[in-house]
Amino acid sequence: MTLTQRLLHDHAARRIIRARPELAQVRDLSTVDGLTAVQQDAGDEDTAVVAVVRRFDLVSWVRGTVAFAAGLNRRRAQEWRRAFTRTVFLAGNPANLTTRFDFAHVAETGAMAWTAPASAAAHRPLRRLLRTFPGTRDLTLGGDVVIDLPGEPPAEPMRRVLHLAGSGLTVAGALVHLGHLLVEAVLDGAISPGDRLTVRQLPRLVGVPGPFDALRVGVDPADPDRLHALMSVSREAGDD
């Protein structure tokens, strides 16, 4: 199995049906326009998570995101899902904020923190203090990054590969897309605490072998009628 437009389309449609089945019924999900329109429709749900970032560090970010998602209660996770796991990334130092604000999770390094999903009004005091995290530099990994996900590992932890399409990916872009991908993969049980994740950066994901446990799909900047894969999670070869 490899990436095709059909496969990308099915993944995108499945994501919508899982989060907002009622919206899926009123749009034609067989077209890119229909898929994109659902995103606009979902603006009625203002539940969001605020992620506070002092400094981007891939390992800490991935481990923290997985630990945060794994710790969410089912009801809150469901509300957040209805807003397509909308996340606002703000620049700030969690150490200066923990006395005034409750965070659902703070990264082990202290460089990042996540609030529980809540309404825009509930987040207003925190957003008033902080600014959008800029993250304009390109993300370049240099080589594979192996990350042991937090949590009690099962007897035989799964080894997975997380592929990133590196062409033009900024730190801000990585925060957004990696955040959605990891959180939804944890909520779907597609990755588990204790798994070992190898993050690998390629120019494009074309030719990456499936099957895919998770996919992050976007509109191809080169053609608005075409989809492309931004990130994927699959099992490492030989880890069956």
Partner: protein, 412 residues
């Protein structure tokens, strides 16, 4: 489903609502009940008087003069009681983008000309043209200017000319010159400033991720404030921090004097400096409206009532001592700290005349009585003299006529 361009750009934090209270007199405890906390156990208190530094890009307006007279009276009235350092370094603030941008604009649009004979008005017109153009040169175009300041203490000849003119005006107005034309670099560089803020837990440095540097007082509920842009451009607050961070710990008290519209930044500065040990006081002044309108110097405002115009209009009709005292009476006691009253030349003229009468009637009181009088005009828990209380007291008819020694020491 998501656009690959999505960056979470909806995360626009709202504007600053930086209202913080700064406890002025922080010294408490048993010791304070038996001893004035503003006076150290040994020796005289050390006071750092640091008014906002006017960028040498335009002539001095009435609003500028107001700040200068308040500073001058605070300085001269406090000196008999404390070791006062008057810090107003142009070298430290030339690096801010307002000045660097003006210099870059001049060299790009005016070119190599002789500024040494130009009037302040002509240079001010160029500054208005620069601001009206609304251009913001890329930082790499300003960088050679920043390097020239850092390496050679270089000052653009347009600003050097203005500072030369100001020095002459300061002399005629009896203002203490804090070193207008002297090279007074801050003791630390930007990197050291950032490092010191970090040690205070008040720095959010996003440069590694392609972002700016923020002053971070969020633990006190104050929004992040950018001090260095993503391209490396320092702003006015960064210059102030770089100048004052190394000086503040060497003083028992820091007095900041600033325009009211800079209050959010000065509240932050207050908080940072207080964290280094000294008591910090702020003197906040409203600008002087002209015909009911408060405008920034970028729109002019010096042509009719600037320092040069006032000296031309009143300098010949009033003797130097009356001019100096009268201007201080008007800009401090009459206009007060607010911004309600428009500038009124005819009212100023009356106070210049009144100044002559006060000087003529001033009795010899003896220096020790004057010193005690100054001591009574210190603010609560402060080592410096409050310029408003002292000067307004000169106009109080129920009080004895002000002493000759006081007027000579502080006002003329």
């Amino acid at each position: 489903m998501s656009s690959p361009q999505a960056t979470g750009a909806d995360a626009q934090a709202t504007g600053a609502d930086a209202q913080a209270t700064g406890a002025d007199a922080r010294a408490t405890g048993a010791e304070a009940s038996v001893r004035d906390p503003a006076v150290p156990a040994t020796g005289r208190p050390r006071v750092l008087l640091a008014p906002v530094t006017i960028t040498p890009t335009k002539p001095l307006t009435p609003s500028h003069l107001k700040g200068l007279f308040w500073t001058d009276v605070a300085l001269r009235a406090s000196r008999p009681l404390a070791e006062v350092t008057h810090r107003s370094s142009h070298t430290a603030f030339d690096a801010c983008e307002q000045t660097l941008g003006f210099w870059e604009y001049l060299d790009r649009t005016v070119g190599d000309v002789d500024y040494s004979g130009l009037s302040g008005d002509v240079i001010g017109e160029l500054y208005m043209r620069f601001r009206a153009a609304g251009e913001r040169a890329p930082f790499h175009a300003c960088l050679p200017y920043l390097e020239a300041i850092e390496r050679h203490g270089w000052v653009h000849p347009a600003s050097a000319r203005l500072l030369e003119l100001w020095a002459g005006q300061y002399h005629r107005l009896g203002l203490h010159d804090p070193g207008l034309t002297a090279h007074q670099p801050p003791r630390i560089g930007l990197a050291e400033m950032i490092d010191r803020l970090r040690r205070l837990g008040m720095c959010l440095d996003l440069r590694a991720d392609g972002g700016p540097v923020f002053l971070d007082a969020t633990r006190d509920g104050i929004p992040l404030r950018q001090i260095i842009a993503a391209d490396g451009r320092p702003n006015y607050l960064a210059c102030a921090l770089r100048d004052l961070l190394p000086l503040a710990p060497e003083h028992d008290e820091v007095v900041l004097l600033h325009d009211r519209d800079l209050e959010p930044d000065y509240l932050l500065l207050h908080r940072v400096l207080a964290g280094l040990g000294p008591r910090v006081h702020r003197i906040t002044l409203g600008r002087v409206p002209i015909d009911g309108r408060v405008t920034s110097a970028r729109h002019g405002g010096w042509q009719q009532h600037g320092a040069e115009a006032l000296l031309d209009e009143f300098g010949d009709r009033h003797d130097p001592a009356a001019l100096r005292l009268g201007l201080r009476l008007y800009f401090i006691a009459v206009l007060g700290p607010g911004d309600h009253d428009s500038f009124r030349p005819e009212l100023l003229d009356r106070y210049l005349a009144k100044a002559r009468r006060l000087l003529d009637a001033a009795p010899d009181a003896g220096w020790s009585a004057v010193r005690d009088g100054l001591d009574a005009h210190r603010g609560a828990g402060a080592a410096h003299v409050d310029p408003y209380r002292l000067t307004a007291g000169l106009l109080n008819r129920r009080r004895a006529a002000p002493a000759r020694e006081l007027l000579t020491e502080v006002y003329t």
